[in-house]
Protein backbone atom coordinates (compact mmCIF):
# COMPACT_ATOMS: atom_id res chain seq x y z
CA UNK A 1 0.00 0.00 0.00
CA UNK A 2 2.85 2.34 0.82
CA UNK A 3 4.31 1.65 -2.58
CA UNK A 4 0.98 2.52 -4.17
CA UNK A 5 1.03 5.98 -2.62
CA UNK A 6 4.58 6.41 -3.78
CA UNK A 7 3.44 5.71 -7.32
CA UNK A 8 0.52 8.10 -6.86
CA UNK A 9 2.91 10.83 -5.75
CA UNK A 10 5.10 10.21 -8.80
CA UNK A 11 2.09 10.44 -11.09
CA UNK A 12 0.98 13.65 -9.47
CA UNK A 13 4.45 15.19 -9.65
CA UNK A 14 4.75 14.29 -13.32
CA UNK A 15 1.40 15.79 -14.16
CA UNK A 16 2.12 18.96 -12.22
CA UNK A 17 5.08 19.54 -14.53
CA UNK A 18 2.61 20.37 -17.25
CA UNK A 19 0.25 22.77 -15.54
CA UNK A 20 -1.26 24.07 -18.73
CA UNK A 21 -2.10 20.60 -19.95
CA UNK A 22 -3.48 19.74 -16.55
CA UNK A 23 -5.74 22.78 -16.49
CA UNK A 24 -7.01 22.34 -20.04
CA UNK A 25 -7.58 18.70 -19.15
CA UNK A 26 -9.68 19.71 -16.18
CA UNK A 27 -11.60 22.34 -18.11
CA UNK A 28 -12.36 20.07 -21.03
CA UNK A 29 -13.55 17.28 -18.74
CA UNK A 30 -15.86 19.74 -17.04
CA UNK A 31 -17.10 20.79 -20.48
CA UNK A 32 -17.78 17.14 -21.24
CA UNK A 33 -19.81 16.66 -18.07
CA UNK A 34 -21.56 19.93 -18.66
CA UNK A 35 -22.70 19.05 -22.17
CA UNK A 36 -23.94 15.68 -20.90
CA UNK A 37 -25.98 17.31 -18.16
CA UNK A 38 -27.22 19.88 -20.62
CA UNK A 39 -28.54 17.19 -22.94
CA UNK A 40 -30.44 15.61 -20.04
CA UNK A 41 -31.76 19.01 -19.07
CA UNK A 42 -32.87 19.82 -22.63
CA UNK A 43 -34.69 16.51 -22.91
CA UNK A 44 -36.54 16.95 -19.63
CA UNK A 45 -37.55 20.56 -20.24
CA UNK A 46 -39.24 19.24 -23.34
CA UNK A 47 -40.69 15.97 -22.03
CA UNK A 48 -40.89 16.44 -18.23
CA UNK A 49 -40.53 12.74 -17.54
CA UNK A 50 -39.65 9.41 -19.06
CA UNK A 51 -40.99 6.04 -17.90
CA UNK A 52 -42.10 7.81 -14.76
CA UNK A 53 -38.70 9.21 -13.89
CA UNK A 54 -38.17 12.93 -13.40
CA UNK A 55 -35.19 15.14 -14.20
CA UNK A 56 -33.68 14.87 -10.72
CA UNK A 57 -34.03 11.12 -10.72
CA UNK A 58 -32.25 10.90 -14.08
CA UNK A 59 -29.55 13.20 -12.74
CA UNK A 60 -29.14 10.83 -9.81
CA UNK A 61 -28.38 8.07 -12.31
CA UNK A 62 -26.09 10.36 -14.23
CA UNK A 63 -24.03 11.29 -11.20
CA UNK A 64 -23.73 7.74 -9.87
CA UNK A 65 -22.57 6.40 -13.21
CA UNK A 66 -20.23 9.34 -13.83
CA UNK A 67 -18.62 9.00 -10.43
CA UNK A 68 -18.14 5.27 -10.83
CA UNK A 69 -16.71 5.69 -14.30
CA UNK A 70 -14.39 8.53 -13.42
CA UNK A 71 -12.96 6.68 -10.42
CA UNK A 72 -12.04 3.87 -12.77
CA UNK A 73 -10.69 6.25 -15.37
CA UNK A 74 -8.46 8.01 -12.88
CA UNK A 75 -7.11 5.01 -11.03
CA UNK A 76 -7.18 2.30 -13.68
CA UNK A 77 -5.90 4.47 -16.51
CA UNK A 78 -3.09 1.97 -17.16
CA UNK A 79 -5.58 -0.60 -18.41
CA UNK A 80 -7.13 1.99 -20.68
CA UNK A 81 -3.80 2.71 -22.37
CA UNK A 82 -2.61 -0.89 -22.42
CA UNK A 83 -1.99 -0.84 -26.20
CA UNK A 84 0.42 2.04 -25.65
CA UNK A 85 2.14 0.29 -22.75
CA UNK A 86 2.62 -2.77 -24.92
CA UNK A 87 3.86 -0.71 -27.83
CA UNK A 88 6.52 1.27 -26.01
CA UNK A 89 7.89 -1.59 -23.96
CA UNK A 90 6.56 -0.28 -20.67
CA UNK A 91 4.68 -3.50 -20.08
CA UNK A 92 7.81 -5.59 -20.62
CA UNK A 93 9.47 -3.42 -18.03
CA UNK A 94 6.70 -4.33 -15.59
CA UNK A 95 7.28 -8.00 -16.36
CA UNK A 96 10.91 -7.79 -15.27
CA UNK A 97 9.95 -6.36 -11.90
CA UNK A 98 9.10 -8.45 -8.87
CA UNK A 99 5.54 -7.25 -8.32
CA UNK A 100 2.06 -8.31 -9.39
CA UNK A 101 1.11 -7.22 -12.88
CA UNK A 102 -2.32 -5.86 -11.99
CA UNK A 103 -0.76 -3.79 -9.24
CA UNK A 104 1.95 -2.38 -11.48
CA UNK A 105 -0.41 -1.46 -14.28
CA UNK A 106 -2.78 0.15 -11.80
CA UNK A 107 -0.07 2.08 -10.04
CA UNK A 108 1.98 3.27 -12.97
CA UNK A 109 -0.74 5.41 -14.51
CA UNK A 110 -3.23 7.60 -12.75
CA UNK A 111 -4.69 10.62 -14.41
CA UNK A 112 -5.73 13.16 -11.89
CA UNK A 113 -7.17 15.69 -14.32
CA UNK A 114 -9.98 13.22 -14.86
CA UNK A 115 -11.03 13.60 -11.25
CA UNK A 116 -12.77 16.73 -12.47
CA UNK A 117 -15.50 14.50 -13.90
CA UNK A 118 -15.96 13.09 -10.44
CA UNK A 119 -16.18 16.56 -8.96
CA UNK A 120 -18.74 17.74 -11.50
CA UNK A 121 -20.73 14.59 -10.82
CA UNK A 122 -20.70 15.40 -7.11
CA UNK A 123 -22.08 18.84 -7.94
CA UNK A 124 -24.88 17.25 -9.95
CA UNK A 125 -25.53 14.85 -7.09
CA UNK A 126 -25.88 17.78 -4.70
CA UNK A 127 -28.62 19.15 -6.90
CA UNK A 128 -30.31 15.80 -7.45
CA UNK A 129 -30.33 14.54 -3.85
CA UNK A 130 -32.77 17.08 -2.36
CA UNK A 131 -34.95 17.26 -5.50
CA UNK A 132 -35.30 13.59 -6.31
CA UNK A 133 -38.11 12.95 -3.84
CA UNK A 134 -36.02 10.38 -1.97
CA UNK A 135 -36.54 10.19 1.78
CA UNK A 136 -32.90 10.03 2.87
CA UNK A 137 -32.32 7.56 5.68
CA UNK A 138 -29.20 5.64 6.61
CA UNK A 139 -30.03 2.64 4.49
CA UNK A 140 -30.57 4.92 1.49
CA UNK A 141 -27.22 6.58 1.99
CA UNK A 142 -25.53 3.20 2.21
CA UNK A 143 -27.32 2.16 -0.97
CA UNK A 144 -26.01 5.23 -2.77
CA UNK A 145 -22.45 4.54 -1.68
CA UNK A 146 -22.75 0.92 -2.73
CA UNK A 147 -23.99 2.03 -6.13
CA UNK A 148 -20.96 4.24 -6.71
CA UNK A 149 -18.32 1.86 -5.37
CA UNK A 150 -19.68 -1.28 -7.01
CA UNK A 151 -20.18 0.67 -10.21
CA UNK A 152 -16.52 1.59 -10.21
CA UNK A 153 -15.65 -2.09 -9.80
CA UNK A 154 -17.81 -3.09 -12.76
CA UNK A 155 -16.17 -0.47 -14.95
CA UNK A 156 -12.81 -1.67 -13.68
CA UNK A 157 -13.73 -5.18 -14.81
CA UNK A 158 -14.51 -3.80 -18.26
CA UNK A 159 -11.17 -2.01 -18.39
CA UNK A 160 -9.41 -5.24 -17.47
CA UNK A 161 -11.22 -7.04 -20.29
CA UNK A 162 -10.17 -4.28 -22.66
CA UNK A 163 -6.55 -4.66 -21.59
CA UNK A 164 -6.79 -8.43 -21.92
CA UNK A 165 -8.02 -8.06 -25.51
CA UNK A 166 -5.09 -5.83 -26.31
CA UNK A 167 -2.75 -8.74 -25.58
CA UNK A 168 -4.26 -10.54 -28.54
CA UNK A 169 -4.62 -7.60 -30.89
CA UNK A 170 -4.27 -3.87 -30.64
CA UNK A 171 -6.51 -3.35 -33.62
CA UNK A 172 -10.24 -3.11 -33.28
CA UNK A 173 -10.56 -2.59 -29.57
CA UNK A 174 -13.04 0.16 -30.29
CA UNK A 175 -15.99 -2.17 -29.76
CA UNK A 176 -15.26 -2.15 -26.03
CA UNK A 177 -16.18 1.53 -26.04
CA UNK A 178 -19.84 0.61 -26.29
CA UNK A 179 -19.59 -0.91 -22.85
CA UNK A 180 -17.19 1.52 -21.18
CA UNK A 181 -17.92 4.94 -22.59
CA UNK A 182 -21.31 3.77 -23.79
CA UNK A 183 -22.18 2.57 -20.30
CA UNK A 184 -21.32 5.96 -18.96
CA UNK A 185 -23.13 7.88 -21.70
CA UNK A 186 -26.30 5.81 -21.70
CA UNK A 187 -26.27 5.43 -17.94
CA UNK A 188 -27.48 9.00 -17.64
CA UNK A 189 -31.01 7.59 -17.89
CA UNK A 190 -32.30 4.64 -15.83
CA UNK A 191 -31.45 1.59 -17.93
CA UNK A 192 -35.08 0.48 -18.01
CA UNK A 193 -35.92 3.06 -20.67
CA UNK A 194 -33.91 1.09 -23.24
CA UNK A 195 -36.35 -1.78 -23.05
CA UNK A 196 -36.36 -5.36 -21.77
CA UNK A 197 -33.63 -6.77 -23.97
CA UNK A 198 -31.07 -4.17 -22.98
CA UNK A 199 -32.07 -4.38 -19.33
CA UNK A 200 -31.63 -8.15 -19.29
CA UNK A 201 -28.23 -7.81 -20.94
CA UNK A 202 -27.20 -5.23 -18.35
CA UNK A 203 -28.44 -7.47 -15.57
CA UNK A 204 -26.97 -10.84 -16.46
CA UNK A 205 -24.07 -10.19 -18.83
CA UNK A 206 -22.51 -6.84 -17.99
CA UNK A 207 -24.17 -6.06 -14.68
CA UNK A 208 -24.50 -2.31 -14.95
CA UNK A 209 -28.18 -2.27 -14.10
CA UNK A 210 -27.32 -3.92 -10.79
CA UNK A 211 -25.64 -0.76 -9.57
CA UNK A 212 -27.91 1.70 -11.33
CA UNK A 213 -31.54 0.80 -12.06
CA UNK A 214 -32.42 -1.74 -9.34
CA UNK A 215 -30.97 0.12 -6.35
CA UNK A 216 -32.50 3.31 -7.76
CA UNK A 217 -35.89 1.65 -7.32
CA UNK A 218 -35.00 1.06 -3.69
CA UNK A 219 -33.89 4.67 -3.24
CA UNK A 220 -37.17 5.93 -4.68
CA UNK A 221 -39.14 3.59 -2.44
CA UNK A 222 -40.67 1.73 -5.38
CA UNK A 223 -39.16 -1.50 -4.13
CA UNK A 224 -38.97 -2.08 -0.42
CA UNK A 225 -37.11 -5.39 -0.46
CA UNK A 226 -33.57 -5.17 0.95
CA UNK A 227 -32.53 -7.36 -1.99
CA UNK A 228 -32.65 -4.27 -4.18
CA UNK A 229 -30.51 -2.35 -1.75
CA UNK A 230 -27.75 -4.98 -1.89
CA UNK A 231 -28.07 -5.61 -5.61
CA UNK A 232 -24.80 -3.70 -6.31
CA UNK A 233 -22.88 -6.32 -4.33
CA UNK A 234 -23.84 -9.00 -6.84
CA UNK A 235 -22.27 -6.88 -9.55
CA UNK A 236 -18.90 -7.43 -7.89
CA UNK A 237 -18.89 -10.98 -9.19
CA UNK A 238 -18.17 -9.50 -12.59
CA UNK A 239 -14.54 -9.02 -11.61
CA UNK A 240 -13.93 -12.78 -11.55
CA UNK A 241 -14.38 -13.57 -15.25
CA UNK A 242 -12.60 -10.31 -16.11
CA UNK A 243 -9.58 -11.32 -14.11
CA UNK A 244 -9.60 -14.81 -15.60
CA UNK A 245 -9.60 -13.35 -19.07
CA UNK A 246 -6.71 -11.06 -18.20
CA UNK A 247 -4.68 -14.04 -17.01
CA UNK A 248 -5.43 -15.81 -20.25
CA UNK A 249 -4.34 -12.78 -22.26
CA UNK A 250 -1.15 -12.44 -20.27
CA UNK A 251 -0.28 -16.05 -20.95
CA UNK A 252 -0.87 -15.51 -24.63
CA UNK A 253 1.25 -12.38 -24.63
CA UNK A 254 4.13 -14.19 -22.99
CA UNK A 255 4.06 -16.83 -25.67
CA UNK A 256 4.03 -14.42 -28.60
CA UNK A 257 5.59 -11.17 -27.51
CA UNK A 258 4.45 -8.04 -29.19
Amino acid sequence: MKLYFKYAAMNLKSQMQYKFTFITGVVSRIALSFTSVLSVLFMFTRFNEVEGFTLSQALLCFSVVSMAFSLTEVFARGFDIMPRMLGNGEFDRCLVRPRGMIFQVLASHMEFARLSIFVSAVAVLCYAVPNSGVVWTWDKIITLILMIVCGAVVFFGLFIIYAAFSFFTVEGLEFMNVLTHGGKEFGRYPFVIYGDGVLRFLTYVVPMALFQYYPLLYLLGRERSKLYMFMPLFALLFILPSYGFFRLGLRYYKSTGS
Binding site: S28, R29, R46, N177, V178
Partner: protein
Protein backbone atom coordinates in the same frame (compact mmCIF):
# COMPACT_ATOMS: atom_id res chain seq x y z
CA UNK B 1 -2.43 18.99 -57.85
CA UNK B 2 -0.62 15.70 -58.31
CA UNK B 3 1.12 15.60 -54.94
CA UNK B 4 -2.23 16.12 -53.25
CA UNK B 5 -3.79 13.26 -55.17
CA UNK B 6 -1.05 10.86 -54.14
CA UNK B 7 -1.16 12.13 -50.59
CA UNK B 8 -4.88 11.42 -50.50
CA UNK B 9 -4.30 8.02 -52.05
CA UNK B 10 -1.69 6.95 -49.55
CA UNK B 11 -3.81 8.01 -46.62
CA UNK B 12 -6.76 6.21 -48.11
CA UNK B 13 -4.82 2.96 -48.55
CA UNK B 14 -3.38 3.34 -45.10
CA UNK B 15 -6.89 3.66 -43.72
CA UNK B 16 -8.01 0.51 -45.48
CA UNK B 17 -5.44 -1.59 -43.62
CA UNK B 18 -7.28 -1.32 -40.39
CA UNK B 19 -9.86 -3.94 -41.09
CA UNK B 20 -10.30 -5.14 -37.54
CA UNK B 21 -10.71 -1.54 -36.45
CA UNK B 22 -13.37 -1.07 -39.09
CA UNK B 23 -15.23 -4.15 -37.96
CA UNK B 24 -15.07 -3.03 -34.37
CA UNK B 25 -16.17 0.44 -35.39
CA UNK B 26 -19.13 -1.06 -37.18
CA UNK B 27 -20.35 -2.97 -34.18
CA UNK B 28 -19.77 0.02 -31.94
CA UNK B 29 -21.73 2.30 -34.18
CA UNK B 30 -24.58 -0.16 -34.50
CA UNK B 31 -24.89 -0.49 -30.77
CA UNK B 32 -24.60 3.25 -30.36
CA UNK B 33 -27.32 3.90 -32.92
CA UNK B 34 -29.63 1.34 -31.36
CA UNK B 35 -29.22 2.68 -27.87
CA UNK B 36 -29.91 6.20 -29.08
CA UNK B 37 -33.04 5.21 -30.94
CA UNK B 38 -34.25 3.24 -27.91
CA UNK B 39 -33.76 6.24 -25.66
CA UNK B 40 -35.53 8.59 -28.04
CA UNK B 41 -38.41 6.18 -28.47
CA UNK B 42 -38.87 6.11 -24.69
CA UNK B 43 -39.19 9.89 -24.71
CA UNK B 44 -41.47 9.67 -27.71
CA UNK B 45 -43.79 7.33 -25.80
CA UNK B 46 -43.77 9.76 -22.88
CA UNK B 47 -45.06 12.65 -24.96
CA UNK B 48 -45.33 12.31 -28.78
CA UNK B 49 -46.64 15.85 -29.14
CA UNK B 50 -43.47 17.34 -27.71
CA UNK B 51 -41.27 15.54 -30.22
CA UNK B 52 -39.68 18.19 -32.49
CA UNK B 53 -38.95 15.88 -35.45
CA UNK B 54 -40.97 13.15 -37.14
CA UNK B 55 -39.78 9.90 -35.59
CA UNK B 56 -38.65 8.31 -38.90
CA UNK B 57 -36.67 11.50 -39.61
CA UNK B 58 -34.88 11.06 -36.34
CA UNK B 59 -34.14 7.42 -37.11
CA UNK B 60 -32.57 8.35 -40.45
CA UNK B 61 -30.64 11.12 -38.72
CA UNK B 62 -29.13 8.65 -36.27
CA UNK B 63 -28.21 5.99 -38.84
CA UNK B 64 -26.54 8.41 -41.22
CA UNK B 65 -24.76 9.94 -38.29
CA UNK B 66 -23.37 6.53 -37.36
CA UNK B 67 -22.62 5.52 -40.95
CA UNK B 68 -20.67 8.68 -41.69
CA UNK B 69 -19.34 9.29 -38.21
CA UNK B 70 -15.77 9.45 -39.53
CA UNK B 71 -16.69 12.23 -41.96
CA UNK B 72 -18.31 14.55 -39.47
CA UNK B 73 -16.79 13.76 -36.10
CA UNK B 74 -14.96 16.71 -34.59
CA UNK B 75 -12.18 14.45 -33.27
CA UNK B 76 -9.82 11.67 -34.21
CA UNK B 77 -7.82 13.50 -36.83
CA UNK B 78 -5.06 16.03 -36.77
CA UNK B 79 -3.45 13.98 -34.02
CA UNK B 80 -0.31 13.38 -36.00
CA UNK B 81 0.03 17.02 -36.94
CA UNK B 82 -0.28 18.06 -33.32
CA UNK B 83 2.34 15.49 -32.38
CA UNK B 84 4.84 16.86 -34.90
CA UNK B 85 4.30 20.37 -33.61
CA UNK B 86 4.86 19.42 -29.99
CA UNK B 87 7.88 17.19 -30.52
CA UNK B 88 9.54 19.47 -33.05
CA UNK B 89 9.46 17.10 -36.01
CA UNK B 90 7.63 19.89 -37.79
CA UNK B 91 11.01 20.94 -39.18
CA UNK B 92 10.87 17.95 -41.53
CA UNK B 93 7.50 19.03 -42.83
CA UNK B 94 8.70 22.55 -43.41
CA UNK B 95 11.46 21.47 -45.78
CA UNK B 96 9.00 19.81 -48.13
CA UNK B 97 7.83 21.86 -51.12
CA UNK B 98 4.19 21.75 -50.15
CA UNK B 99 1.90 24.10 -48.36
CA UNK B 100 1.54 22.72 -44.86
CA UNK B 101 -2.07 23.76 -44.42
CA UNK B 102 -3.15 22.10 -47.65
CA UNK B 103 -1.14 19.05 -46.81
CA UNK B 104 -2.70 18.50 -43.42
CA UNK B 105 -6.10 19.26 -44.83
CA UNK B 106 -5.76 16.59 -47.53
CA UNK B 107 -4.35 14.06 -45.10
CA UNK B 108 -7.28 14.56 -42.77
CA UNK B 109 -9.78 14.26 -45.60
CA UNK B 110 -8.06 11.07 -46.78
CA UNK B 111 -8.30 9.56 -43.32
CA UNK B 112 -11.92 10.53 -42.95
CA UNK B 113 -13.04 9.27 -46.33
CA UNK B 114 -11.28 5.93 -46.01
CA UNK B 115 -12.69 5.28 -42.58
CA UNK B 116 -16.19 6.26 -43.64
CA UNK B 117 -15.92 4.21 -46.85
CA UNK B 118 -15.23 1.05 -44.88
CA UNK B 119 -18.03 1.58 -42.45
CA UNK B 120 -20.91 3.30 -44.18
CA UNK B 121 -21.99 0.55 -46.58
CA UNK B 122 -22.68 -2.24 -44.08
CA UNK B 123 -24.31 0.16 -41.62
CA UNK B 124 -26.62 1.61 -44.25
CA UNK B 125 -27.44 -1.81 -45.72
CA UNK B 126 -28.51 -3.17 -42.38
CA UNK B 127 -30.27 0.04 -41.39
CA UNK B 128 -32.51 -0.32 -44.44
CA UNK B 129 -33.64 -3.86 -43.63
CA UNK B 130 -34.15 -3.46 -39.89
CA UNK B 131 -37.67 -3.91 -38.54
CA UNK B 132 -39.76 -0.85 -37.68
CA UNK B 133 -39.27 1.47 -35.84
CA UNK B 134 -35.51 1.09 -36.40
CA UNK B 135 -35.67 1.04 -40.17
CA UNK B 136 -34.11 3.85 -42.10
CA UNK B 137 -36.19 5.44 -44.84
CA UNK B 138 -35.26 6.71 -48.30
CA UNK B 139 -35.11 10.47 -48.85
CA UNK B 140 -38.49 11.92 -49.86
CA UNK B 141 -37.45 12.89 -53.41
CA UNK B 142 -34.48 13.22 -55.75
CA UNK B 143 -34.14 16.95 -55.16
CA UNK B 144 -33.71 16.40 -51.46
CA UNK B 145 -31.17 13.65 -52.11
CA UNK B 146 -29.20 15.94 -54.44
CA UNK B 147 -29.09 18.62 -51.76
CA UNK B 148 -27.89 15.98 -49.33
CA UNK B 149 -25.05 15.03 -51.68
CA UNK B 150 -23.97 18.68 -51.89
CA UNK B 151 -24.16 19.15 -48.19
CA UNK B 152 -22.11 16.10 -47.13
CA UNK B 153 -18.73 17.21 -48.52
CA UNK B 154 -19.42 20.75 -47.35
CA UNK B 155 -19.97 19.52 -43.80
CA UNK B 156 -16.88 17.40 -43.87
CA UNK B 157 -14.83 20.37 -45.00
CA UNK B 158 -16.36 22.65 -42.38
CA UNK B 159 -15.44 20.16 -39.66
CA UNK B 160 -11.97 19.77 -41.08
CA UNK B 161 -11.18 23.48 -41.32
CA UNK B 162 -12.50 23.88 -37.80
CA UNK B 163 -10.23 21.11 -36.55
CA UNK B 164 -7.36 22.73 -38.43
CA UNK B 165 -7.86 25.80 -36.27
CA UNK B 166 -7.54 23.55 -33.26
CA UNK B 167 -4.30 22.11 -34.66
CA UNK B 168 -2.92 25.54 -35.41
CA UNK B 169 -3.62 26.67 -31.85
CA UNK B 170 -1.15 24.01 -30.82
CA UNK B 171 1.58 26.23 -32.22
CA UNK B 172 0.67 28.76 -29.55
CA UNK B 173 -0.21 26.51 -26.64
CA UNK B 174 2.31 23.73 -27.33
CA UNK B 175 -0.06 21.41 -25.53
CA UNK B 176 -1.49 18.20 -26.88
CA UNK B 177 -4.72 18.79 -25.12
CA UNK B 178 -7.29 20.96 -26.78
CA UNK B 179 -10.13 18.56 -26.08
CA UNK B 180 -12.41 21.33 -24.92
CA UNK B 181 -12.89 22.10 -28.62
CA UNK B 182 -14.00 18.57 -29.22
CA UNK B 183 -16.62 18.32 -26.52
CA UNK B 184 -18.23 21.68 -27.13
CA UNK B 185 -18.14 21.18 -30.87
CA UNK B 186 -19.70 17.76 -30.61
CA UNK B 187 -22.55 19.00 -28.49
CA UNK B 188 -23.24 22.18 -30.44
CA UNK B 189 -23.07 20.32 -33.75
CA UNK B 190 -25.89 18.06 -32.66
CA UNK B 191 -23.68 15.05 -32.03
CA UNK B 192 -25.30 14.12 -28.75
CA UNK B 193 -28.74 15.61 -29.25
CA UNK B 194 -30.00 16.75 -32.68
CA UNK B 195 -30.25 20.53 -32.71
CA UNK B 196 -34.10 20.54 -33.08
CA UNK B 197 -34.22 19.11 -29.55
CA UNK B 198 -32.58 22.24 -28.13
CA UNK B 199 -35.05 24.63 -26.54
CA UNK B 200 -35.22 28.17 -27.91
CA UNK B 201 -33.17 30.36 -28.07
CA UNK B 202 -30.38 27.75 -27.95
CA UNK B 203 -31.68 26.13 -31.09
CA UNK B 204 -31.46 29.28 -33.22
CA UNK B 205 -28.05 30.18 -31.87
CA UNK B 206 -26.67 26.69 -32.46
CA UNK B 207 -27.95 26.69 -36.02
CA UNK B 208 -26.17 29.95 -36.80
CA UNK B 209 -22.83 29.02 -35.23
CA UNK B 210 -20.24 27.23 -37.36
CA UNK B 211 -21.08 24.02 -35.47
CA UNK B 212 -24.61 24.15 -36.86
CA UNK B 213 -23.07 23.92 -40.33
CA UNK B 214 -21.51 20.57 -39.60
CA UNK B 215 -23.46 17.29 -39.40
CA UNK B 216 -26.71 19.06 -38.59
CA UNK B 217 -27.32 20.13 -42.19
CA UNK B 218 -26.86 16.95 -44.27
CA UNK B 219 -28.42 14.70 -41.62
CA UNK B 220 -31.60 16.73 -41.56
CA UNK B 221 -31.72 17.40 -45.29
CA UNK B 222 -31.61 13.67 -46.04
CA UNK B 223 -34.87 12.87 -44.34
CA UNK B 224 -36.60 16.04 -45.40
CA UNK B 225 -36.60 17.56 -41.93
CA UNK B 226 -34.80 20.48 -43.51
CA UNK B 227 -36.25 21.19 -46.95
CA UNK B 228 -36.87 23.81 -49.60
CA UNK B 229 -35.65 27.32 -48.93
CA UNK B 230 -34.46 26.44 -45.44
CA UNK B 231 -32.19 23.75 -46.83
CA UNK B 232 -30.70 26.08 -49.41
CA UNK B 233 -30.10 28.73 -46.77
CA UNK B 234 -28.40 26.18 -44.56
CA UNK B 235 -26.13 25.13 -47.42
CA UNK B 236 -25.24 28.73 -48.13
CA UNK B 237 -24.37 29.20 -44.47
CA UNK B 238 -22.16 26.13 -44.67
CA UNK B 239 -20.31 27.63 -47.63
CA UNK B 240 -19.88 30.87 -45.70
CA UNK B 241 -18.42 29.19 -42.62
CA UNK B 242 -16.17 27.05 -44.76
CA UNK B 243 -14.74 30.10 -46.51
CA UNK B 244 -14.43 32.11 -43.30
CA UNK B 245 -12.66 29.45 -41.29
CA UNK B 246 -10.46 28.46 -44.20
CA UNK B 247 -9.29 32.04 -44.53
CA UNK B 248 -8.77 32.42 -40.81
CA UNK B 249 -6.87 29.15 -40.66
CA UNK B 250 -4.53 30.10 -43.48
CA UNK B 251 -3.82 33.48 -41.93
CA UNK B 252 -3.15 32.00 -38.50
CA UNK B 253 -0.95 29.35 -40.01
CA UNK B 254 1.14 31.96 -41.75
CA UNK B 255 1.51 33.93 -38.55
CA UNK B 256 2.36 30.94 -36.40
CA UNK B 257 4.85 29.50 -38.87
CA UNK B 258 6.65 32.82 -38.91
CA UNK B 259 6.94 32.48 -35.15
CA UNK B 260 8.15 28.91 -35.38
CA UNK B 261 10.78 29.76 -37.97
CA UNK B 262 11.89 32.79 -35.99
CA UNK B 263 12.45 30.58 -32.97
CA UNK B 264 14.23 27.94 -34.98
CA UNK B 265 11.58 25.23 -34.80
Amino acid sequence: MRPYVSLFRIRFINGLQYRAAALAGLSTQFAWGFMNILAFSAFYRANPAAFPMAFPHLVSYIWIQQAFLALFAPWGTGGKAVETIVNGNISYDLVRPMDLYNRWFIETIGDRVSRAALRCVPILLVAFILPEPFRMTLPPDMRQFALFLVSVPLSMCVVTVFMMLDTIFTFYTMSRYNAIFIFTAEFLAGGILPIPFFPEPFRTIAELLPFGSMQNVPLRIYSGDLAGMDALKAIALQAFWLAAMLLLGKLLMKHSLKRVIAQGG
